[in-house]
């Protein structure tokens, strides 16, 4: 088999497993087997990973545990094309948010790997939100539409959700301003929310943390409260990135719940990034309403919290650096080390935030000391 055929065959087996998970079938855990298979392919075909393995003197047959698969830090995506696709086969490119000019990650897909990305993203979204294929809702998205943000993996996913689950009134409610910033149109957004509220149409309101701040800050004064009907929920993701005032997530969620008439468990968080093809969610059907929130990836992606000192997985309840092993990352690398700090909670994790000092602090931001 050629490499392309092997990747195709892997993708077919992964998709079959994803189907089983969505169907609720109780199938054996295929993660370790598929992880080794994919790592074998990637360590041959992704030059960055191949160099890394050679640099470390890693041979496939000496690794015992899938957690020993070498991780690639997200920062490396800013400098190297981390993909097994040759330039002429890269039909789609996702980029991390460009807060600092050219300093962004690039992640490439071909139609096959994009299909895996979409299947992974959509399936776990449905599982987390308790939706079935074919269910329709009013999908209101506080980002620009796909045409205006062609390289955002988040917008791609939201478009997918709108396409699969949106009714005819669904819409994207932000635009890209001349500085490339995403700006919510609060009047339109509140009008759309009011219409759904008045018409008893359940809403899926999707957006980034800063877009929700824009929404809250732009609420028209002197109007009766919006009360979204049962079946509605808010999905918030990502940080503020300096694009809005920053408030603690718990305060943001409380404010959103109050402004939209939603119970706390209807305001939910997604964890994802352009370097990953699977996402984690902090609320699932059947979770106790007031229980501790923890993020969970689908069975085909695993979060591992490691000690930055030793690189070893920490004990339950301890904190460390978050690594994600994502089998849906077919054409890049499956093992990613993020710059996020997290607490290990069973099979899930609680997010502590970015290890901000790593790069965000320029010289002048360093802790004061002389």
């Amino acid at each position: 088999m050629t490499n392309a055929a092997e990747f195709r065959s892997f993708a077919a087996d992964l998709l079959a497993w994803i189907d089983e998970v969505e169907a609720g079938n109780n199938v054996a855990d295929q993660f370790p087997t598929l992880a080794w298979r994919l790592f074998g392919l990637q360590s041959e075909c992704v030059s960055t990973l191949r160099d890394l393995c050679r640099g470390r003197g890693i041979a496939l047959d000496v690794l015992r545990d899938w957690r020993d698969i070498p991780v690639v830090p997200t920062r490396a995506f800013k400098e190297f094309p981390i993909t097994s696709l040759s330039p002429d086969h890269r039909t789609a490119e996702f980029r991390s948010s460009q807060t600092t000019g050219r300093d962004f990650s690039r992640c490439f897909h071909d139609p096959e790997s994009l299909a895996v990305y979409e299947r992974s993203a959509l399936t776990w979204f449905r599982v987390a939100q308790g939706l079935r294929p074919g269910d329709r809702r009013r999908v209101l998205v506080l980002t620009p539409p796909k045409a205006e943000a062609p390289h955002s993996s988040l917008v791609h996913m939201f478009e997918l959700i709108r396409h699969e689950h949106g009714d005819e009134g669904s819409a994207f409610l932000a635009a890209v301003d001349p500085t490339s910033a995403w700006v919510v149109e609060p009047k339109t957004a509140w009008a759309a929310l009011r219409e759904a509220s008045d018409g008893g149409t359940p809403v899926l309101l999707l957006g980034t943390a800063f877009s929700f701040v824009h929404l809250l800050d732009g609420r028209p004064a002197g109007q009766p409260p919006v009360r979204l009907p049962a079946g509605s929920f808010v999905l918030e993701t990502g940080g503020y990135k300096g694009r809005s005032r920053e408030l603690p997530k718990s305060d943001l969620h409380a404010a959103l719940g109050k402004a939209l008439g939603l119970a706390p468990q209807c305001v939910r968080t997604e964890y994802g990034m352009c370097e990953l093809s699977s996402q984690a969610y902090d609320t699932f059907p059947g979770d106790p309403p007031a229980g501790q929130r923890r993020f969970r990836f689908p069975p085909w992606a695993r979060a591992v919290v490691v000690s930055p000192e030793t690189g070893r997985e920490v004990a339950d309840g301890e904190s460390g650096l978050l690594r994600v092993y994502d089998l849906a990352n077919v054409r890049s690398v499956l093992a990613i080390e993020t710059e996020d700090l997290a607490v290990r909670r069973g099979l899930g994790f609680e997010l502590l935030g970015r290890a901000a000092r790593a790069e965000a602090r320029g010289c002048s931001l360093m802790p004061a000391a002389t």
Binding site: T48, P73, P308, A369
Partner: protein, 457 residues
Amino acid sequence: MQLPRYFLADLPDRAAVTPAVVTEACLSLKSNRRQFLRERNTDSMVAAIAAIAEDWLDPNNPFRQVALAEGPSALGFSRETLSAGLDAFFRTLTVENLRALLTQDLGHNQRLERLSPAEVETYPRQLAFAQGPPLVAHITAGRLPNPVLTSMVHGLLLRSAQFVKCATGTALLPRLFAHSLREVEAKLGACLEIAEWPGACHELTDALIAQADCVTAMGSDETIAAIRRRVPWNTRFLGYGHRVSVGYVAVEAMSAFTLPKVVAACAQDVIAWDQSGCLSPHAIYVETGNRQTPHRFAELLAAELDRLEGICPRGRLSLDEAASIAARRGFYEIRAAHSGDTALWRSEGSTAWTVVYENDPRFHPSCLNRFVYVKAVAGVEQALEGLDSLRGQVSTVGLGASGLTEQRLAQRFAAWGVTRICPLGRMQEPPLTWRHDGRPSLADLVTWTDWEPGGRG
């Protein structure tokens, strides 16, 4: 040893510190100064400081013992790092050095007592008398004790009352130093206050500034700017913002004979205070052209840091700090696997030390805690190009060079704007006469009276 509750920072209940308490403390300090300090002479202050410093060098000094026992958990330095750092600091506080500082900054070491001529005769004849501010407020930052202890010594020499406001969690060593003064001379202790509150407690900071005749502040450039805005125009303000330092090794120092010594000196600069000061090197620029390459220098530096970790271990890091190191290591490992222009050496199973070699002169700030870059350059001009974005912000260059090369390099770095040049191995041990950020230390604090005597009439 249980320290008595004497200073505000000794109180277990931080809520007890209110603006009224700060004001009251400042008024007491000023009154105590009038009673106890104004009539002291310079010689007696010099003698007292030197005696206290000498005592701190004694392993049996109870304050030193508390510093070494509590310092590791309070400040995050290992006992060995603290011990070495305190020794280096207190060794400089000798009678001779203190007098040298007075002469350098004030022209004559009696000028705080009476109208005196400069030691070098001036024409027309002029006599001068210098007075320190009645109350100096020091707003400090960071866990490194040297800058704040140095400021306290300056205040003592000038016989000023001093209120030291420490950043949260950093008061231990200023407190211990103040208690040691108080034990020897209760009257000196009565003219000092040590307190700790978060920078966001503006009402406390404002109460302090309102009483102070002079405010010194250390911290990030933003912090300094924010404090400066709160200080009235007619209160003297001395801000010390963010600075970085680097090492530079000339090709002559790369011979097989000198290289081990230069590497050992450089490693001392990296481990001192766990590289957390403005005087610690972020990067070492190493000249190419010898058979011993910059890459080899980096390899030897890594081996030396590994050896020193067994003798003088790095302190424990927060999760955030350790994660910064882990993230950078991961990234440089990828780069190193990709190209020979980057190489990485690191401690096994910990983040204790990291050396990144880069064949690229562009400066990139280190995440510190013994994480150092070694950069290959053809010569000093290439290093200065790499440092260009930091022009005006480089505090110290540690030189690995000798003779005429050392002179040439020192002159070049000085002309470019570096404010201190010293041999490698001494970067974190500035002399007492060092001009912090290029400014005189005592002379910036005092107010002068000049007298031009009339003729014999």
